[in-house]
């Protein structure tokens, strides 16, 4: 399955950036079955790393109960226009993808 980039949006207000992201990903729990009854193997994002101008500011670990095409919103302090925010995820099958956003 082609890995898709993280879609991101940012809103800057008084030095705090509100970051919103949508990560196209099937997020299979490993307990679901196809109509034919076969078990669909677990395939879910396990780790999300968020960087602000290169510095890691937030690291999330997710279990199997985060929804499909995960939505993730967080805030970054001491932010100003021109700063770069990067979100990178890693799933249990070793796939990874990322999104980059330059704050305006």
């Amino acid at each position: 399955m082609a890995v898709k980039p993280v879609k991101m949006r940012g809103k800057l207000a008084e030095g705090v950036a509100e970051i919103k992201a949508l990560m196209p990903h099937p997020m299979e729990t490993g307990t679901r079955r196809t109509e034919a009854g076969e078990l669909i193997p677990a395939h879910f994002i396990q780790e999300v790393m968020c960087e602000h101008n290169g510095a890691l500011v937030l690291r999330a670990e997710w279990g199997t109960s985060v929804s499909k095409n995960p939505y993730f919103a967080f805030k970054v302090a001491e932010a100003k226009a021109g700063d770069e925010v990067v979100i990178r995820w890693l799933d249990n099958l070793g796939e990874t993808s990322e999104g980059r956003l330059t704050l305006k």
Binding site: L58, W62, S65, V66, A73, A77
Partner: protein, 150 residues
């Protein structure tokens, strides 16, 4: 499971190289076991050991009381309390109650949102860990089957 745990260490090693001063070191690679736990108290034990967990209105848990759809339940956990190191989301009735952990940098505001899956109606907990303890908010969320057996 150990295959991807080692990958996680590799990635963490990488992130160390690219200047990760913002995150306190000892928070790393601790939650993995808690994700396998089947009971809430096991999760709490794994995450916090015997640190006290106290209900507090300083933690805001925003989640609907009746979920439109158990597959996609919007949830926000936030707090203005000082020195927040990490935020956790726990869904008691899920097969694995620990849903997500968020380790925050020193300057990162404690305000995270995502969408979670709920297999059935359940108590949902938002926990905030600070240097001097763990604060918690909780709310019962009902998950209903569609109207006409939908």
């Amino acid at each position: 499971m150990n295959m991807n745990v080692s990958r996680r260490h590799v990635l963490r090693g990488l992130s160390l190289l690219i200047g990760v001063a913002a995150l306190p070191r000892q928070l790393f690679a601790r939650a993995t076991g808690a994700f396998q736990a089947k009971e809430v108290d096991q999760v709490m034990q794994q995450l916090f050991g015997d640190l006290p967990v106290t209900l507090s209105d300083q933690v805001i848990l925003k989640i609907p009381s009746i979920a439109e759809n158990g597959a996609v339940v919007p949830v926000t956990v936030s707090s203005d309390v000082a020195g927040v190191e990490a935020i956790y989301i726990v869904i008691d009735a899920n097969p694995n109650p620990l849903s997500a952990t968020f380790e925050l940098g020193a300057t990162s505001p404690a305000d995270v949102s995502t969408r979670v899956k709920m297999g059935q109606s359940s108590m949902v907990r938002g926990l905030v860990k600070t240097s001097d303890g763990v604060l918690m908010a909780q709310q019962e969320v009902k998950v209903t089957i569609g109207g006409c057996g939908g």
